[in-house]
C-alpha cells in the first residue's frame, strides 16, 4: 500500500519554517551551479554559432590562432585562385584577406582593461558572413571608420556609436554597431583592411585568409589542396572547428563553479538530512500508527524519501527562478587562443534548468535516505509509546 503524496505535501506545509529554510539552502546551491552552467552554455553558443560549414580559415603553417598567424599578399593571390572556391554574384572568388590584432579597452563593469579583437577586412569578407548592422552603417573603404560588435559596444562605453577611439596611428570613428547574433563577431571591432594594416605597419604582414568552398562536397578537397601546397606553406581548417575549440576558454570558470557547487551541495545535503531526521523524530507516533494500520516498512521508507525529494525539488525550483533574471545578461571571458575577450550572454535554457533540478533531487535523495530508513525501521510498540 502506498502513502498518498498529499500526506507528504501537508507535512511540509505544517512545518513551513523548517521547509522554507532547508529549501532555500538547496536553492542557493542550485543557483550557484545554474549560474555557472548558464555562463558556459552562453559561451558555447557564442562559439558554436560562428562560422559557415563551407568556410575554411587559412593560417600560417604552425599558427594556432588568427592572432599568431601570418600571410602575405602574394600568398593571398595564390590562395584566391585555387580551384573549388566559390564566386560571388560579381564573379570574384570568395576569399577574404584579413588582418587581426588586439586593442585594449576599459570595461564599464570591471574598470579593468581588456583585450578586444580588431579585424580589418574588405567587402568580400563582410559578405561572407551573415551579419547585420543594428545601428548606423558599415565602414567605408579607405576611411578611418569602424563597426563594433553589439556585445563589445554594450560593455565598453568607449566603443559606442559616434565615439572616437584611438589605436594604431590615430583616431577611428565608430559608424555602426553590428548584430552578429550570438557569434564571436559580437565581441570584435571591424574596419577597412588596408587602413588597419597600414596603421599597424603590417601592409604585407596580414593574418588570415577566409575562403568559401563551392559546396559541401568540395570542402575537403579544397582543404587538402591548400594544405598540400608546399610552396604556399599554409594550413587550412574548418572555420567552425576553429571556433569550437575556443569553447575551452570557459573551462577554468566552469570547473571552479562546479567545485563550489559540489562543496555547497555537501553542506546542503547535511542540512536536508537534519531536517528530515527532525521530521522523523517528531512523527514517531504517527509512523507507529501507520504501521499498525498496515502500511509496510517499504512504503514508509518510500514516503519519507519522496518527502525529502519534494523538499529538495522545491529548493531546485526556487533556485531556477533565482537565476532566470541572469538570462541574456552580457558578460565577457578571455580566450586563451585569440588572446582577446569574447562577449556573450548567460543562457538559462531548459536543459540548464533540468540539470539544476536533477542536482537538487540528488541532494534530496542523499539527505533523505538515512532518515527514511530510520523511519521505516522504527519499532512499532516503542514508537507508539513515545511522547
Amino acid at each position: 500500500m502506498k502513502l498518498p503524496l498529499s500526506y507528504n505535501l501537508r507535512n511540509l506545509a505544517v512545518r513551513k519554517t523548517s521547509t522554507i529554510m532547508t529549501a532555500l539552502g538547496v536553492a542557493m546551491t542550485v543557483a550557484v551551479l545554474l549560474a555557472d552552467l548558464a555562463l558556459v552554455n552562453g559561451l558555447r553558443q557564442a562559439f558554436q554559432s560562428t562560422g559557415d560549414a563551407r568556410n575554411l580559415l587559412v593560417l600560417r603553417k604552425g599558427g594556432t590562432s588568427e592572432l599568431n598567424s601570418g600571410v602575405t599578399r602574394q600568398q593571398y593571390q595564390d590562395i584566391k585562385f585555387k580551384p573549388g572556391i566559390a564566386r560571388n554574384d560579381k564573379g570574384e572568388p570568395m576569399a577574404s584577406l584579413e588582418i587581426v590584432t588586439i586593442v585594449s579597452l576599459k570595461s564599464s563593469d570591471t574598470g579593468n582593461n581588456s583585450n578586444i579583437m580588431v579585424r580589418g577586412l574588405t567587402q568580400t569578407g563582410v559578405d561572407m558572413r551573415t551579419i547585420k548592422i543594428a545601428e548606423g552603417r558599415w565602414f567605408a573603404q579607405g576611411q578611418r571608420e569602424i563597426v563594433v560588435g553589439s556585445g563589445t559596444a554594450k560593455r565598453y562605453p568607449d566603443a559606442r556609436l559616434g565615439k572616437q577611439m584611438r589605436f594604431g596611428k590615430g583616431y577611428w570613428t565608430v559608424v555602426g554597431i553590428m548584430d552578429a547574433g550570438s557569434s564571436a563577431a559580437n565581441s570584435e571591432i571591424w574596419g577597412d583592411l588596408n587602413q588597419i594594416a597600414s596603421d599597424f605597419n603590417r601592409d604585407n604582414g596580414l593574418s588570415v585568409v577566409l575562403v568559401r568552398a563551392t559546396d559541401d562536397a568540395t570542402v575537403s578537397a579544397l582543404m587538402n589542396s591548400l594544405n598540400d601546397d608546399i610552396k604556399l606553406n599554409m594550413s587550412a581548417r574548418s572555420e567552425r572547428e576553429y571556433y569550437d575549440q575556443q569553447t575551452i576558454s570557459g573551462a577554468p570558470v566552469q570547473y571552479l563553479g562546479i567545485l563550489v557547487a559540489v562543496i555547497m551541495a555537501i553542506g546542503s545535503s547535511f542540512a536536508a538530512m537534519n531536517t528530515m531526521y527532525a521530521s522523523v523524530a517528531r512523527r514517531a507516533k504517527e509512523i507507529g500508527t501507520l504501521r499498525v494500520l498496515g502500511f509496510s516498512k517499504g512504503s514508509i521508507m518510500i514516503s519519507f524519501l519522496i518527502e525529502s525529494l519534494l523538499l529538495a525539488g522545491i529548493g531546485g525550483i526556487i533556485g531556477c527562478l533565482l537565476v532566470i533574471p541572469l538570462n541574456n545578461v552580457t558578460t565577457g571571458i578571455g580566450s586563451f587562443i585569440s588572446f582577446s575577450e569574447i562577449s556573450f550572454n548567460f543562457k538559462v535554457g531548459p536543459r540548464v534548468m533540468l540539470n539544476g533540478l536533477l542536482f537538487a533531487l540528488f541532494m534530496g535523495a542523499i539527505g533523505g535516505l538515512f532518515p527514511a530508513r530510520q523511519a521505516a525501521n522504527k519499532e512499532i510498540l516503542s514508537s507508539l509509546r513515545d511522547v
Binding site: L67, M264, A271, I333
Partner: protein
C-alpha cells in the same frame, strides 16, 4: 554569562547526530568561504612584497600584441628613479609538440646581464651564470621548469616560433632558484634578433624595469607614459602585480563572481544554523518552562540558546578552516603562476576573522528562535507536549 557554559555545552551534545550534521554542514560552507575570502584578499587586497613592488612593465598602450621600438630602452633608462631596464620579449612558439599542454611554459627573450639586475633574487651557481652571460644561445630555466622535464645543464631546447618566424636552438646553461617562481625560461634576446629581418629586428614586445625605491615605483608609470603620449607608439607602464592581475580578467568578472558566491554561501550558513536552532528550541519548550520555574531569567535563556548556536558554529568554523587550509595548499600548487596566489594562506589574523564571522553568523541566525524561547510563557511551555 560564563556560569551557563556547562549548560550550553551539554545542550549541544544532547542531540549528537543533529549537532554533528549541523557542524558538518557549516564546516563545508565555511571551508568554501575561507578559500574564497583568502582568494579575494590575495588577489585584490594584498600589498605586494617590498622587493616585488619595485618591478614594473612597460608595453604598448594599445595592447600587448603590439610592439614598441627597441630604441625606447635608452629613453626608459633616463627616466628618474629607474634603476635597471631589460628587453622582456614574450616568445610564444612551441617546444616539441604543441598539442601536449605540458609542453607549454613561459619563454622570454631578455638581456642576461640586465635580468640579474632586476631579479637579484635569482640564485644560480657562478659558472652557470657566467655561461648565460657570455653564450649567445644559452638559456636558464627555473627550478620548477627544469624539474618538470628533468632538464640538466647542457640540455638542448629547440623552440619553433609562431609570432616570430625563427627557430631557436637553445642550450640550457643553468637552473636558478627563486621564491614563488613558476615555470619560466629566459634566453638571450640578441639571439632572437639575429633571426629577424626588416622592421621586426628593432621591435620589442615589452620592457621590464626596476625602480630604485617604492616612491619612484609610484611615480615612474605616469612619468614614462606621459613622455610617450604623443609618440607614434604610446606606452603603458604598470607594476608587475597589476600586470599579472590583468590576465585574471580572462576569467571574466572575477571580483563579482567571488562576491556573489560568498553571499550565497553566507546566506546558506545562516539558513542551516537558524534551522537547527529553531528545531532544537522547538523540542525543548517544556525544558525552557522548567528552567524558568527554577528561576532562570529571560536573558539567561536567550544567552543559553545564542551560546549554543555560537558554539556549534565555532566548531563548524574550525573544522571548515582546517579543510580550507588543505584546499588552499592544493590551489597554491596548482596555480603557481600567479605570485599573488602564493600569498594565500591561513594567517592567524585571517583565521580569527573567519572564526569570528562563523560565530557572528551562528548568533545572528539564532536570534529569532532564542527570542521565542526566552519569551515563552511558563504555563504554555510546561503544557507543551513537544
Amino acid at each position: 554569562m560564563f556560569k551557563y557554559l556547562p549548560l550550553v555545552f551539554k545542550n549541544s551534545l544532547r542531540n549528537r547526530r543533529r549537532s554533528l550534521l549541523t557542524i558538518s554542514s557549516i564546516a563545508a560552507s565555511m571551508c568554501l568561504l575561507g578559500v574564497l575570502f583568502a582568494l579575494y584578499s590575495a588577489l585584490f587586497l594584498s600589498e605586494p612584497k617590498a622587493e616585488d613592488a619595485l618591478r614594473l612593465i612597460t608595453y604598448h598602450k594599445v595592447s600587448l600584441g603590439q610592439a614598441l621600438p627597441g630604441s625606447y630602452e635608452g629613453k626608459l633608462r633616463q627616466v628618474p628613479g629607474v634603476k635597471a631596464v631589460t628587453v622582456y620579449q614574450w616568445f610564444g612558439g612551441t617546444y616539441k609538440d604543441a598539442r601536449d599542454q605540458r609542453n607549454f611554459f613561459a619563454r622570454f627573450g631578455v638581456e642576461p646581464a640586465r635580468l640579474f639586475e632586476i631579479r637579484p633574487d635569482y640564485q644560480l651557481p657562478p659558472d652557470q651564470k657566467q655561461m648565460f652571460l657570455t653564450s649567445r644561445t644559452a638559456a636558464i630555466a627555473s627550478r620548477k621548469l627544469a624539474a618538470k622535464f628533468g632538464w640538466q645543464p647542457g640540455e638542448k631546447i629547440p623552440l619553433t616560433g609562431d609570432i616570430f618566424p625563427v627557430k631557436l636552438e637553445l642550450t640550457l646553461a643553468g637552473i636558478f632558484d627563486a621564491p614563488n617562481t613558476d615555470e619560466v625560461l629566459y634566453f638571450n634576446h640578441e639571439y632572437l634578433r639575429e633571426g629577424l629581418t626588416g622592421d621586426r629586428k628593432d621591435q620589442v614586445g615589452s620592457f621590464w624595469l626596476l625602480a630604485d625605491s617604492e616612491a619612484s615605483a609610484r611615480t615612474i608609470p605616469s612619468a614614462i607614459d606621459k613622455s610617450f603620449d604623443n609618440a607614434p607608439e604610446p606606452t603603458k607602464t604598470e607594476t608587475e602585480s597589476a600586470f599579472t592581475l590583468q590576465f585574471l580578467s580572462f576569467l571574466g568578472n572575477l571580483k563579482l563572481f567571488l562576491v556573489a558566491i560568498c553571499a550565497a554561501v553566507t546566506f546558506t550558513i545562516l539558513l542551516v544554523s537558524g534551522n537547527t536552532m529553531a528545531m532544537s528550541v522547538r523540542e525543548r519548550i517544556r525544558e525552557v518552562g522548567i528552567l524558568k520555574t527554577l528561576g532562570y531569567t529571560n536573558g539567561a535563556i536567550l544567552g543559553i540558546v545564542l551560546g549554543e548556536a555560537a558554539f556549534i558554529s565555532l566548531i563548524g568554523g574550525i573544522v571548515g578552516l582546517l579543510l580550507a587550509g588543505g584546499l588552499m595548499s592544493v590551489v597554491r600548487q596548482g596555480a603557481a603562476g600567479f605570485a599573488q596566489l602564493q600569498q594565500m594562506g591561513l594567517t592567524p589574523g585571517f583565521s580569527m576573522l573567519c572564526l569570528g564571522f562563523a560565530v557572528a553568523i551562528g548568533v545572528l541566525s539564532s536570534v529569532v528562535p532564542a527570542a521565542n524561547a526566552s519569551r515563552t510563557n511558563i504555563l504554555d511551555a510546561l503544557r507543551n507536549a513537544g
